[in-house]
Amino acid sequence: MRRILEINGKETPIWLASTGQSQVLHLGDREIPCTLDPATGKGAYTLELDGTRISLRIAVGEEATFVHLNGRAYEIGRTDPSQTLGESGGGAAQDQMIAPMPGVVVSVSVAAGDDVAEGQALMVIESMKLETTITAPRDGTVAEIPFAAGDSFGGKEILLKLEPLEEAE
């Protein structure tokens, strides 16, 4: 199972697997066995990483995890690459779909000016060797598609824009 983790603006893809006894963190081509157990104290845990035991405090937020380690607090951003695009962005996501991480456009099935229906497949992207189909979050008209098949895009870039809805009465 994958996550994209962000520390100090730097994004790193990770993969977590299980051996049954412990978990294995895949970091690039490294495989690090690790376990995490609750300890005494508010939010306190013991992390065993590659045989070393480390005390830390952890608080899990909606989009980030906060860790207090060796007298310092850190914020680690989390992105789940399998999550539907547009879900994470909240209200504004109704009008534009933003890439959660860098990737490549596999195919585009609509063009600017096309009317689309909610749920209709608009484009397919691949990030972290995982294909994702982007579907229309609502009925509307495509305003802009900045990328074509084969183009690569960066994290947080706009992949597709819908014409904004008329202001509600």
Partner: protein, 490 residues
């Protein structure tokens, strides 16, 4: 006269701090709360929480009419303003006077005088206290160059109408003076439509040293020694200490006596602070007087053993000071850290968020004055200061060690704070040697930056992955064969 019920017209850590003392000495207490505010420690301490309304929370706390009316309605006979908001607002004091409510602080006249920086400076200078040499063109344009020359070098030329550093010139030699005056004048005209100038002595590598004073308005004034506040970012203090590592005992007596003298000149009532610019050559100059309790007052309490709020309340109730200067001694060393919700690595940008986990440090000589509760949230409605960590040690090295330990033990997760940055300041060799100036944080910006090393990053990623319940659950549910294969699709 005595105080029966006190309204604290403030919020956050200072409201909690004032309320604690008021309760301890048996005064009934009330505090304000805007509907948009989350609960804070003050709301759990006060006997009564009074709702205050306003378009924004800040506007509500500045609404003189409403606060005076609330004080009357709940039967408060005194109001403590804390710091900020209405603490130095002469109109507020006037409105309370009219309503027959005691203001815990100085008179309207003194607030007015000290609130006008030019009047205050002239007042202090006329009474023989040191102010930085300066010359204002407006006073007499014909003699301006002559008077500017008399200020001495290096000097700083500023457009009178200016701000933000535009049109400012440092002049180090006589030969540059007239050319620089002409350049500054042209720039003043261009930027501000006003070519009038102001010249003052430029103090290189200055320190900011201030003195706590207290008077009873009945002729008695004492000082509670100095505080060193040179560690500033964006002209705001974030770390204060006492005693100042810069002063010899003679210099300390001298600067503290000057401050007490200034307070004596205005027959000062209540707690106040006289701020000075301190030059590397030992010269010091009056900067301004703050007619309120300061954010950093706890370091003074730690080394003198006095509760300054209790003294304020006693004086407001009409009692005499009842203290001799010799009753007030500095024992040991104290440091205060201002914990702010901000990103020190991103130009101190204020941070917001929910406080997911909080654990305050404890230990000998450790005091926390906090304005936040676990589970609360930090918004942009108010100042980003969340709490203050104050430590005391027998000497400066012990105070630094205790401050570092406590800063590292202070857990605030969910919102970015400057705790790590403050610890990096404490660890800096130049800070530890005490040789700092107000430019320290800007000069050492690179050295104070912190990046997690590779090992730390591995730990953070493992902790994040293993505490991600959805991720762990998904991993546990993967059929054995895929588990063995790992996940890569090649």
């Amino acid at each position: 006269m005595s105080i029966n019920k006190l309204l604290v017209a403030n919020r956050g850590e200072i409201a909690a701090r004032v309320l604690r003392t008021a309760r301890a000495i048996g005064i009934k207490t009330a505090v304000l709360r805007h509907p948009a505010e989350v609960d804070s420690p003050a709301h759990t301490i006060a006997d009564e929480v009074v709702t205050i309304n306003g378009a924004t929370p800040v506007a509500a706390y500045l609404d003189i009419d409403q606060i005076v009316e609330l004080a009357q309605r709940i039967g408060a006979d005194a109001v403590h303003p804390g710091y900020g908001f209405l603490a130095e607002n002469a109109a507020f004091v006037g409105a309370l006077d009219k309503a027959g409510i005691t203001f815990v602080g100085p008179t309207q006249e003194v607030i007015d005088l000290m609130g006008d920086k030019i009047r205050a400076r002239n007042y202090v200078e006329e009474r023989g206290f040191p102010v930085a040499p300066s010359a204002i063109e407006d006073d007499n344009p014909a003699t301006f160059v002559e008077r500017a020359r008399a200020v001495g070098y290096p000097l700083l030329i500023k457009p009178s109408a200016g701000g933000g550093g535009k049109g400012m010139h440092i002049v180090r030699e006589e030969s540059e003076l007239e050319t620089s005056i002409e350049t500054a004048r042209r720039e003043g005209e261009r930027y501000f439509g006003d070519g009038r100038l102001f010249v003052e002595r430029y103090i290189e590598n200055p320190r900011h040293i201030e003195v706590q004073v207290m008077g009873d308005g009945q002729g008695n004034v004492v000082h509670f020694w100095e505080r060193e506040c040179s560690i500033q970012r964006r002209f705001q203090k974030i770390l204060e200490e006492t005693p100042s590592p810069a002063l010899t005992p003679e210099q300390r007596d001298d600067i503290c006596e000057s401050a007490a003298g200034i307070a004596r000149a205005v027959n000062y009532r209540g707690a106040g602070t006289v701020e000075f610019i301190y030059a590397p050559n030992g010269g010091y100059y009056f900067l301004e007087m703050n007619t309120r309790l300061q954010v950093e007052h706890p370091v003074t309490e730690m080394v003198t053993g006095f509760d300054l709020v209790a003294e304020q309340l006693r004086i407001a109730a009409g009692e005499e000071l009842g203290l001799q200067q010799s009753d007030i001694r500095q024992t040991g060393h104290s440091i205060e850290l201002r914990i702010c919700a901000e990103d020190a690595d991103a130009d101190f940008r204020p941070a917001i968020g929910d406080i997911l986990l909080m654990d305050e440090p404890v230990g000998p000589g450790v005091r926390v004055d906090s304005g936040i509760l676990d589970g609360g949230s930090v918004t942009t409605d108010f100042d980003p200061m969340l709490s203050k960590l104050i430590v005391h040690g027998r000497n400066r090295p012990e105070a630094i060690a205790r401050a570092r330990r406590a800063a590292q033990d202070y857990v605030i997760l969910g919102v970015t704070t400057n705790l790590g940055y403050l610890d990096a300041i404490l660890a800096h060799p130049k800070f530890q040697s005490g040789k700092v100036s107000t430019g320290f944080l800007a000069d050492e910006a690179e050295a104070l930056k912190q990046e997690p090393d590779d090992t730390t990053q591995d730990i953070l990623m493992a902790a994040t992955a293993l505490s991600d319940a959805r991720l762990v659950q998904a991993v546990e549910n993967v059929p054995e064969i895929y588990r063995m294969m790992g996940g890569w699709r090649n």
